[in-house]
Point group: C4
Chain length 202, copies 4
């Protein structure tokens, strides 16, 4: 079982991820060189394009991307973020085709206020993550941060709400996923909107 | 009585609505794929151009628009949002030539704080929705959300303040209308400004 | 004593004011069609270019400007805002070469909290309006709103702090002035920054 | 020991600083004409390019830059900001290759709340300034403001935390440094993000 991802395929994925990154960076969600985005290029074996580490996320080029396997290790060289392992795990676990990891102020602020999980209810915007707008409590899990990606992955797997394509990592930021980069973008925008709203809770 | 709306007319309306959508999206008022805009193309029978459902509202093209009748049903195919019915009803009820529906954080946050209606008073900005700037209380109605557009329309009709071209749908967002897309834009900006101000009320 | 302002001079002023307006509009300080800007073209007799009323302040062209006299009346036709009278009065009273009137949320929110005037102290940013950064209290006056420009002008004249090129009109917005449009811009940015800071006062 | 900085070298540095300034200005961190940026061009003797005083920081050209020595005095003419002296001192003291001075609302608001220093802990974003994300308290020093750059420099030197490339000047703004303009930018974004987060502390 081999995955032949051509350089061109990888660069096309890099162009998509660079555009999505620039968009999130313009919102202030990737300050410094924080955050990273990925896109699944093959399922069996699992291969993802992940944005390269250490770059300004508003200035990526189509080549600032690394091909990684299901453990987040580089397949053909390059320097993926340590978090590539978690991207790969989210893709394997959820079947997502794209994963967004951003550092938003609202996610960290709300994660502090509601360390046991952030509950939303009766909000039309919940439909944007596939939930009903009425009469149902939807929890966005909050998990403790770790530098051990395997530990962080275990926490994500244990805490994950199948009805919510996102997890807050306390003191850190947001992981969000979707079928493709555009859906992952929309899920990210919806979850961030929900968090910004709840900051106004009294 | 027939309404002959040419493909070109519809596409011209689509270009206007795409530009207005991109503007609102840049403000963060149409996160995910939320919200929709419409423009009346004929009064008798009522025909509106409504933005197509499911698209990113910052990336619409002039063709991402559907022609609907007074019940919000597609006249020549395409997939209007379920909310097209409410757009048509607002246009019929108020005589408006354009309707804006956006999901702003301020409208949902203030709708939660003031579920009985949000009262403004002594604000120059009220002139932007045709009200006096002094000594008059102006109420922005808040109605309960529903997935039944007919029920939501009844609530809007019952709660509507003839002196305020807008309604907050609780847990959902804002409907605003005007004589044409530009006036609807200005009304939307004014109402949102008023809501953002009131979030600072102590 | 006559003031011969050529059509070209007026249009050049219009180009400057259109660019300044677009800038302020991009900050959200001129929502709807609110606010207006002016520039002195002649001192004796007093002649100002004032942005035309009713336009979107992000979309002005160099021609969307009216020549007014010291009473704010149109010299060669066109429709100045009623507030042109106040612009002219500020220019006469203070010697300013440019006047900015914007509707910012922070100015109205702070005017509500501190109706007797907003006091700043020990802030480096005060140097941006010509004040010392240390040990001096600087008051930004707040005056009651009025639709009578003559009354509003009397209040501004009575309340004005010669050491602060700005006044908050309660429930309305901000008047700021400077030697030329660029200095008026900088004064506006400084005053708005100070107001946004004070919203965090506990 | 002489430092021969060519006009071309200085202008190249000016182009970099103009681009960085425009970026920070677009975030609202350099309102009015506030703030200044610098870049080390030679170490022995110390020579820095510093943005010229009094200009709009969103409109600098590559020539709006002054060459200064280790005391912040102009080497070949031009008008450096008085703060150039502090830039030079930070560069000498820390070995930084670039210094950013911006006036952010969050830095002044948090400096008021925590005049003894702002403590961060358990935040992934701390890695962006070279600190661990867990179990360590990291203090961002707050020093009193002064118009005497020598006094301000003494305070910075005395209060400086070697593990934090930034200092808040109370009632004034933020000094941040890094190995080069890009790293200084990233440090600035990270520190500002941390401050914006802490404004949500209850």
């Amino acid at each position: 079982m081999t995955a032949c991802i051509s350089a061109r395929e990888l660069e096309e994925a890099g162009a998509v991820l660079a555009a999505e990154s620039a968009r999130f960076a313009s919102f202030g969600w990737m300050r410094g060189t924080s955050g990273n985005l990925s896109m699944v290029l093959s399922r069996a074996p699992l291969r993802l394009a992940v944005t390269a580490s250490g770059h300004d996320k508003g200035e990526l080029t189509p080549r600032d991307v690394v091909l990684v396997d299901g453990q987040g290790a580089a397949v053909h060289g390059g320097r993926p973020s340590a978090e590539a392992e978690l991207h790969a795990r989210v893709a394997a676990l959820t079947g997502a085709g794209a994963v967004v990891h951003v550092h938003t102020v609202a996610s960290v602020a709300m994660g502090r206020r509601e360390p046991g999980g952030i509950v939303f209810r009766d909000l039309e915007m919940l439909k944007g993550v596939g939930q009903p707008a009425h009469d149902v409590e939807v929890t966005l899990p909050v998990i403790a941060n770790s530098q051990d990606m395997s530990e962080l992955g275990d926490r994500l797997e244990a805490a994950r709400n199948p009805g919510m394509p996102a997890v807050v990592v306390a003191g850190h930021g947001l992981y969000v996923w979707g079928a493709d980069p555009r859906q992952a973008r929309h899920h990210t925008e919806v979850v961030e909107w929900l968090l910004e709203l709840e900051l106004f809770r009294r």
